[in-house]
């Protein structure tokens, strides 16, 4: 069979040699042939060695997992000075690690290629030289013990795989260990970025913990309310964190990249003005808003606490200011009413005849809202049977968590506690663009903050409240928005607000600032604060007559007749000109919850309740695991403009197989499992058997055809004799 060729046989008898390279070899000796074989083998081996790291390659993966990201390339393009990466890599490696090392070196090589020769990689082996090992240890590079096989014996070996990055000769960072090739870029690029920036981005925090009034039957003073120290602590390595207090008339630093505003309350006009001017200068704002505070007091869990957004006497409401930027804050508390699975769970106490709690029951908590990365438009058919309404709903409903936003790349579900509704205004200001990226299910309910949000079934009032919630008008409530552009000033055409501590009577001896005696004391009660503010307003009114014209846009701030003029103000005390228009583009990102990043939620502790054993279940249920990475990503998004988030998000594309499809809420679980099992069985066996059967079927058809041809030939041969 294999000898069948349809080429015409030439005349072998003529002795003509076949043409071509082999034909030419016909006359050569055996040794000549052997020499040629060896020569070709040598050339081939050399070729293999020379071409093993050409560096020309195509990364076919969707997320370009094995290539440098555009973010890294952009950061490398900003290099101005030589950057040297000292790679403390031990050479002798066991198999799997050797392959990983190859990939790491490939990626480092790509860093070099993208850096326009400003980046150099130097390989140092700490196991080859004692002085190199000592230096690596001094720098903080640590070897990792791994088990290896040597001469048939398993022994422990130290593997070095750390990096020291030096920029411009005087700045350096160390990565003690690169565990695998996939994490190299995630570790190395932020370090290079930090070195290139010369300084860490400055992030200001305005966060005031709430206070809790002492109850009548409470003997001890209530413990301090939880604040937002942990989130500040966890970003200190990457950012220059500046706690900000504007209550004494301070200003925001002009080089502030991002202002993180957490649960703003008791806001004076001065604070609002400073924030506005920060935005006008092109500074970004990350706002975590809350419409109410619940559950501080151990004796009244889930009860609404005193909470006031605007300081009494404030001329511009914070809500109104936000509207000017294109953000509509509803000041409602949002509940999730679709299914209990989308609600959090809280421990509900059952009380005995003596009025004391004697048992605990887990209850769904509608004010603890879970937001899913899900396209809710597919649910239109389950929410209504009317075709017209269904089509309208399918058009209106959209994703719960924006899947295209890398900030949420890692999370399929986010939890929020007593969130508030924030959305884009119906008409955005001119030149402003906005997007909504967080929404509840179609059964979200926004209501005025109730006095009690307790899930306790024993509470009659609460049961009524739940019934009311279930019957309330529901929609997909927006919980997170971003606006960006050249914002109009909320204080345009208005006088600059009075600066706290501003002396109207000429008594100020503090560079234009007057630090009041009680400035350090927090405003415990909004009513007290409002009184204090009222008195300040009164003073301001009294001093109004003496204020000169031209305060607006005055670089030196308001000047009062009779007041001693400071000869030289501290730089931070000088008032910059008031800006009525934005100088640069800015971004404002608003999340309708500040509780999920509060210290007690991040740490899983509710300090007020820990002393009471019965409350511990509640403590656990409040633990918010996603708060930390989400805050990290949100801040990076604001401060670094997605650069570093891309590195994290691209390795977390959801590729899970879904054999279940859409599930009806009333479908029996056993039937569902049976349906999925049958589906899998069909998929498995149809895929396994169909190609085999196709191949064998083709063979069988061919055989039958040949047999028919044979029979036809034989019969025709018989017929012709």
């Amino acid at each position: 069979m294999t000898t069948e060729t349809n080429t015409q046989a030439s005349s072998p008898a003529s002795g003509a040699l076949p043409s071509g390279p082999m034909g030419e070899m016909h006359g050569t000796s055996f040794f000549g042939l052997a020499f040629r074989v060896l020569l070709v083998a040598g050339i081939c081996l050399n070729l293999l060695y020379l071409t093993r790291s050409l560096g020309v390659r195509v990364d076919l993966t969707q997320e370009k997992l094995y290539s440098l990201s555009p973010s890294t390339k952009r950061i490398l393009a900003r290099l101005e000075k030589p950057l040297v990466i000292e790679s403390y890599f031990s050479k002798d490696l066991p198999g799997q690690l050797a392959q990983e090392r190859g990939k790491i070196e490939d990626l480092l090589d790509e860093y070099v290629q993208m850096s326009k020769n400003l980046l150099k990689v130097v390989y140092l082996d700490p196991t080859s030289d004692r002085s190199i090992e000592d230096r690596a240890r001094r720098l903080g590079v640590q070897p990792q013990p791994v088990q290896v096989s040597k001469s048939g014996m398993f022994t422990m070996q130290e593997v070095w795989q750390g990096l020291r990055i030096r920029y411009g000769g005087d700045r350096q960072k160390v990565i003690p260990l690169v565990p695998q090739s996939l994490s190299l870029e995630e570790l190395l690029t932020p370090v290079i970025y930090e070195l290139v920036l010369e300084r860490k981005p400055k992030v200001g925090f305005i966060a005031r913990p709430n206070t809790q009034p002492r109850q009548q039957f409470q003997q001890q003073a209530p413990p301090p309310a939880p604040g937002w120290e942990m989130v500040q602590g966890m970003i200190r390595g990457r950012y220059d964190v500046v706690p900000i207090d504007l209550s004494k008339g301070q200003q925001l630093p002009e080089d502030l990249e991002v202002l993180v505003l957490i649960e703003p309350k008791n806001m004076s006009d001065w604070e609002k003005y400073c924030i506005d001017q920060h935005i006008m200068r092109g500074g970004n704002v990350l706002l975590f808003a809350d419409a109410a505070d619940y559950g501080f007091n151990p004796y009244q869990p889930f009860q609404r606490q005193p909470f006031q957004v605007d300081l009494q006497g404030s001329k511009l409401a914070w809500k109104q200011q936000l509207q000017g930027y294109g953000v509509d804050w509803g000041q409602h508390v949002v509940a999730e009413m679709l299914t209990p699975e989308l609600q959090g769970e809280a421990d509900s106490f059952l009380f005995g005849p003596d009025g004391r709690p004697n048992n605990i029951e887990r209850k769904p908590m509608p004010y603890w809202v879970k937001v899913l990365k899900k396209d809710w438009s597919t649910w239109a058919s389950r929410l209504t049977k009317d075709p017209t309404a269904m089509a309208k709903l399918a058009k209106e409903l959209t994703w719960g968590v924006d899947p295209s936003n890398p900030v949420f790349g890692q999370s399929q579900m986010l939890s929020f506690y007593w969130p508030t509704d924030v959305s884009l205004t119906k008409e955005l200001p001119k030149g402003i663009t906005g997007e909504t990226f967080l929404r509840t299910s179609p059964k979200g309910v926004a209501q005025l903050p109730p006095q009690s949000s307790s899930p306790q079934s024993a509470n009659v009032a609460n049961s009524l409240q739940l019934r009311q919630l279930a019957n309330s008008e529901s929609s997909q409530v927006s919980l997170g928005v971003q606006v960006k552009g050249l914002f109009p000033s909320a204080f345009a055409g208005m006088k600059r607000p009075d600066r706290p501590g501003q002396d109207k009577t000429g008594q100020d001896k503090n560079g234009g600032l007057l630090v009041p005696q009680d400035a350090d004391k927090p405003v415990a009660d909004p009513s007290e604060a409002s009184k204090a503010d009222a008195s300040k307003t009164e003073t301001a009114e009294q001093g109004k007559e003496t204020v000169k014209d031209g305060v607006q846009g005055d670089a030196e701030g308001p000047v009062f007749e009779g007041a001693p003029q400071p000869k030289e103000d501290k730089p931070e005390d000088k008032l910059p000109p008031k800006l009525d228009k934005a100088e640069k583009q800015a971004r404002i990102l608003v999340i309708g919850d500040a509780n999920f990043i509060r210290d007690d939620h991040l740490s899983g502790r509710f300090p007020q309740w820990m002393s009471q054993p019965l409350m511990r279940g509640m403590v656990e249920s409040l633990f918010s695991r996603q708060g930390r990475p989400l805050f990290d990503n949100l801040l990076d998004w604001m401060a670094l403009d997605l650069d570093l988030i891309e590195l994290r998000a691209r390795r977390n594309v959801d590729r899970s197989l879904d054999f279940v499809g859409e599930v009806s809420p009333d479908e029996d679980q056993d039937l569902l499992k049976a349906r999925v099992a049958t589906k899998k069985w069909w998929i498995q066996w149809s895929n396994i058997l169909l190609p085999v059967l196709a191949l064998l079927g083709f063979g069988l058809l061919l055989l039958m055809k040949r047999m028919a041809e044979k029979r036809a030939f034989l019969s025709s041969a018989k017929a012709t004799g």
Partner: protein, 245 residues
């Protein structure tokens, strides 16, 4: 070129008339798919991911048997039944003969691989499949089959016995595939030069790189050099037989 195309077509057609090709092909299609689909559905919690890396993980071993089975009789049978001498008298060069046979086997394996296209298509229906590593996996498998076929043809050319040819192919290719791992076991980490040598010559290194979705010019050149070298050896062996008689 025309002669080589004719040889290739005839050889390719001969595969479809050969029971061995059907048996080997059916086994190649059934065994890896059975193991892969069985493990793919082990996780009933729905966390299984849409990727084919495990499937391509079975390919080097499956391809080893398939390529050896397809090539074992290519020259050995010719020699055994005495048609090799007749073949060598045809007005075609030994290079054309060798390349024609090689391409026929190469395309036959390509057809078998195409028949598994239903797997990624099915996965893409139920999940977000990244097609890059799938394409890389198929390309890597096909190139690996080329390397195995080139060696298998050479092994077949040096013996009259199909079984000997099969065993030589299996043993040598198995050794070459796991060369870098075996070198580590034998030499430990005391001889990095040797380990690097075996890593460079091992098809496993180059296959794993392409199969994860990264097509490196170095890996492509490796397969080109590997195939060319063993086809050259094959040609040389035939030429020697032609001369010696």
């Amino acid at each position: 070129m025309a002669e080589m195309t004719v040889i290739m077509k005839r050889e390719l057609w001969s595969f479809f008339l050969s029971p061995i090709a059907y048996v080997a092909g059916a086994a190649f299609l059934f065994v890896p798919a059975f193991f892969w689909f069985s493990t793919l559905f082990l996780n009933t919690g729905g966390a299984t991911e849409a990727h084919m890396s495990n499937f391509f993980g079975y390919m080097p071993l499956a391809m080893l048997f398939l390529a050896s089975a397809l090539t074992m009789r290519q020259w050995a049978e010719e020699r055994k039944i005495g048609t090799l001498e007749l073949l060598l008298t045809y007005p075609v060069t030994t290079t054309q003969l060798v390349t024609g046979k090689f391409l026929a086997s190469f395309f036959f394996i390509g057809i078998l691989l195409l028949m598994t296209a239903s797997y990624p298509l099915t996965l893409s229906l139920f999940g977000n499949l990244d097609w890059g590593p799938v394409i890389g996996g198929y390309l890597g498998t096909w190139l690996l089959s080329g390397a195995y076929l080139a060696f298998g043809l050479f092994a077949s050319s040096i013996t009259k016995d199909q079984i000997v040819s099969l065993i030589v192919s299996l043993v040598v290719l198995l050794f070459m595939f796991y060369a870098s791992s075996l070198a580590l076991i034998v030499f430990g980490t005391n001889h990095p030069g040797l380990i690097e040598f075996f890593t460079v010559i091992s098809p496993a290194t180059h296959f794993s790189s392409i199969a994860r979705g990264v097509v490196d010019l170095g890996d492509l050149l490796y397969y080109l050099v590997f195939c060319s070298f063993f086809l050259f050896l094959n040609s040389s062996v035939l030429e020697l037989k032609k001369r010696v008689g």
